[in-house]
């Protein structure tokens, strides 16, 4: 036991005081968040009161809950009553919601202590946290590089040891990709598994809240706390929540693992994936077949422009290393084609902006947030939205407005919704033969600031993660060694709807087999707290 699980155990048994735990983390935040900028707001005072209440409960013999005294960081697009919830946008700077998000209530009820609100790409639109109105977050592994995004603040906070747990939101990979780039675990649950009530919407049919943690066990623990039916969210699934922790030690013997062929292609210099896999993993003695599984009957190499450039060779190597490890642990591994993933990015970048253009209409200067005065309401709206939204947000609102507009709906939004169905079908077909699917989480390791200034290049970061948002299925990133320049690489484990348990079983097995990560720059500080055994 380590991390959040250990803290909760110690606090519940009286071995440690929640207030002491909190102070350790607050000290680390104070010392290093100036460099990292994981937080928009640190709620130290409120956290001290909450931790004291946990200690009092323990003193009185009451159980404060599964996450007793565990500091948690919330992405700053989760509503927290009376605490600024900004979405890292000028538009909502200083806005204090009159209510808590359901997940915030759930975490607090389980004894977790909110330590602060974390930075993000404005309104969660981005893959680097560079698009925050309040400045970028830096990757604790290399402060010259991005932490990924959009939940970069939450990922960096956990990686830097500012909090053992954090919550983020994942619309197109915004939990998994930063988890991968920061060398930690991040889960996007099944759409509907976790209530969205109180999550400031980006793209409603994709958004899903999930946890970040340093290991799979902590992530599973947090997932159990935030999952479950919420009558305040119509898209919340009324299904019982299993004990995710018990899934960790089940082992992968007999599980069928599919490597998504379309997402296992190294860039040109790395040549084709098959060749690489055959050549690079003699240890396992495995040469993965291609499964012959092409459910939609499309040629996977068809001008899928987003995939044409392929991925970092090291990233693909780690993927096959992970596959080898699972095979060695008793799983059967094969390739599987999920052809529609080649079109996922295109479909996503039509549907998500469309929903966003509508979701973000309400920021009009009338009821909350920024207002720039104008001679009449229309002018006030226009000037407010000009001043309040950053460049990327405006670009997506314009794109989404176009995709929905009369005369273009069928050609863009409507067609993208059909591709979404195609993705659903292709995944269903793949899951008929496989229990989980594997791919890289991110095509690349953490990149330098400004390196992907071109939006199209940035959008490509989401190639592997978007398909699960289209299908609504759960997926997670688990660290598996390092890539270029010793930076963390994550492997993505995908499962069918409500298949979180199997996904966690596989992730835990990968974690046990993973090559060691180099420590983040701030690890020395993190190691001194006793948060790890």
């Amino acid at each position: 036991m380590k991390g959040a699980s250990l803290i909760a155990h110690d606090v519940r048994t009286g071995a440690r005081r929640a207030t002491d735990v909190l102070q350790d983390f607050l000290s680390r935040v104070e010392a290093h968040d100036g460099d990292v900028h994981a937080f928009n707001t640190v709620t130290a005072e409120q956290a001290r009161a909450a931790a004291a209440a946990i200690d009092a409960a323990v003193d009185e013999g009451r159980d404060p809950g599964l996450l007793a005294g565990v500091p948690v960081a919330f992405k700053d697009n989760l509503c927290t009553r009376g605490v600024a919830t900004t979405c890292s946008s000028r538009m909502l700077e200083g806005w204090q919601p009159p209510y808590d998000a359901t997940v915030v209530q759930a975490m607090t009820a389980a004894g977790a202590v909110m330590i602060g609100k974390t930075n993000l790409d404005e309104f969660a639109m981005g893959s680097s946290t560079e698009h925050s109105a309040f400045g970028p977050t830096r990757n604790p592994y290399d402060l010259t590089r991005v932490p990924g995004g959009s939940s970069g603040g939450s990922a960096a906070a956990v990686a830097a040891g500012f909090a053992p747990l954090a919550l983020g939101s994942d619309t197109g990979g915004s939990i998994r990709q930063p988890a991968s780039l920061c060398g930690i675990v991040g889960i996007k649950p099944t759409y509907g598994r976790v209530s969205r009530y109180g999550l400031v919407a980006f793209a409603s049919s994709f958004d899903q809240i999930g946890p970040f943690a340093t290991d799979v066990a902590d992530a599973a623990l947090a997932l159990g706390v935030i999952s479950g039916h919420d009558p305040a969210d119509s898209t919340s699934i009324p299904a019982a929540v299993p004990d995710y922790t018990s899934a960790l030690d089940r082992g992968v013997e007999g599980l069928r693992v599919g490597i998504v062929s379309e997402l296992a292609v190294a860039s040109a210099e790395g040549q084709a994936a098959r060749a690489r896999s055959g050549g690079c993993h003699p240890a396992a003695g495995t040469s993965w077949g291609d499964g012959g599984n092409t459910p939609s009957g499309y040629d996977i190499s068809a001008e899928a422009a987003w995939l044409r450039d392929g991925f970092d060779p090291e990233v693909v190597e780690r993927l096959y290393g992970a596959a080898d490890a699972l095979a060695a642990a008793g799983a059967t591994v094969d390739h599987v084609s999920v052809p529609a993933v080649a079109y996922g990015l295109t479909a996503y970048y039509l549907i998500a902006p469309a929903e966003a253009s509508s979701n973000l209409a309400r920021y009009d200067g009338t009821r909350y947030g920024l207002r720039v005065e104008g001679a009449d309401v229309t002018e006030m709206n226009r000037l407010t939205r000009r001043a309040g939204f950053g460049d990327e947000v405006k670009a997506r609102i314009m794109l989404g407005t176009f995709a929905l507009s009369a005369g273009y709906y069928d050609a863009y939004y409507g067609k993208a919704q059909r591709v979404r169905m195609l993705t659903r079908r292709d995944f269903d077909a793949a899951y008929a033969d496989f229990d989980v699917l594997l791919s890289p989480t991110s095509p690349c390791v953490a990149f330098r600031f400004g390196e992907r200034a071109d939006p199209m290049t940035m959008y490509r970061c989401d190639t592997c993660t978007i398909p699960s948002n289209l299908s609504g299925d759960p997926a997670m990133s688990v660290p598996f060694g390092t890539g270029a320049e010793g930076l963390p690489v994550g492997v993505q484990v995908m499962a069918p709807a409500l298949g979180e348990e199997t996904m966690l079983t596989v992730a835990a097995a990968l974690e046990r087999a993973a090559p060691p990560l180099s420590k983040p720059l701030l690890a020395g500080v993190a190691g001194s707290t006793g948060a790890q055994t």
């Binding site: 759409y191 422009a305 709206n381 000009r386 670009a395 067609k415 059909r418």
Partner: protein, 88 residues
């Protein structure tokens, strides 16, 4: 588009966003190759239906708390500049 989206933009900005739009739509053209005639649109990733609440009143939010967050308020209401014309 800028007018529909109620965002004031300069000519340069319009050009900038139009360029962005054009590049995304370029990718969108690859969808034209797909035969989607028999594929229905998917709006919701998880197939729920008939989700309701009972017609029972809950507690409203505190008006002062909400109005304290408003850019301008008076007489218990949200205040805005003059409204010209009809909804659009």
């Amino acid at each position: 588009m800028a007018r529909l989206a109620r965002i004031e933009l300069t000519a340069d900005e319009i050009e900038h966003y139009t360029g962005h739009l054009g590049r995304v739509l370029e990718h969108a053209r690859e969808l034209d190759d797909l035969d989607l005639a028999d594929v229905p649109p998917l709006a919701h990733p998880y197939p729920l239906r008939n989700v309701f609440r009972d017609d029972v009143a809950g507690s409203p939010v505190d008006r002062d708390e909400v109005l304290s967050q408003a850019p301008a308020a008076s007489d218990g209401q949200f205040e805005v500049p003059p409204v010209l014309g009809d909804p659009s």
